[in-house]
Amino acid sequence: MSKKKTLTFCLMDAPFENARTTTALRLIDTAVRRGHNVNVFAYEGAVGVPFSKQSAHANKVHGFEEDEWNHPLPKDWVSEIMNHAEKTGSKVDWINCGLCVDERGMNEAVPGVRRGTPGDLVNWANTSDNTLIIPTK
């Protein structure tokens, strides 16, 4: 049996709202570092995670300019995970729920993200070694 697994994640939370988004991406990053293939179905607010128009800012409260502050952007985390996958020989396939994208006007996503439907989640669940739903609360 091959050690390489295919894991499907379904995310629901918007970026910058709670720790579940970060935790989910850490799990995905770990899977990729271990060489596994990962599918991500972003539903509801999670379609904002790879939204390419996110932008960093300065933090005047702490006295840092934008170039000093290294403000995290989840879209960059997604790109980093995808770039790293190429190095580890794994594959990351990210689908944003198209209707959720339309509702939010979030059509612009980082390269590698494509538009899909709940049927894609069904297909992935049927063909993956396991599926983890990380719901919103």
């Binding site: 702490h62 995290p72 960059d76 790293h84």
Partner: protein, 127 residues
């Protein structure tokens, strides 16, 4: 000037992506804009005043986090700007946090003390 009590209860919600607790941050910003503010930490947020806490370093691919949230230090800075920080005594006890673990300057309040705080402020903003 009207006095506002910011009650912070939700804790560690988005502190990695935001590099801050967003309510501690906005309290800094509103103080800078001239507001008269106090802070009451209750619920899980009482852990914010435990000294020496440190967010773990995090990375995605080649990206490395810098300037991770240091909420105990942010509270010390807030008190340095003249914002009193109170913490609910019962919520500390429930979590097994002793007074010796707290940052200097934070004031503990029991339930009656919380009532007094509410009575002594014009606005109560529960975040």
């Amino acid at each position: 000037m009207a006095k506002t009590l910011n009650i912070i209860e939700s804790a560690y919600r988005a502190t990695i992506e935001e590099q801050d607790d967003t309510i501690v941050w906005i309290t800094h910003a509103m103080k800078g804009a001239g507001a008269d503010l106090s802070v009451l930490l209750r619920g899980n947020a009482v852990n914010y005043c435990v000294t020496g806490q440190k967010a773990p370093e995090i990375s995605f691919g080649e990206w490395q986090q810098t300037h991770a949230a240091q909420i105990d230090q942010d509270l010390i800075a807030l008190m340095g700007k003249g914002v009193p920080v109170y913490v609910a005594e019962e919520d500390l006890a429930k979590r097994g946090i002793s007074l010796s673990e707290l940052i200097s300057g934070v004031k503990t309040v029991n339930r009656e003390g919380i009532l007094d705080l509410i009575e002594n402020h014009d606005r109560i903003w529960h975040w």
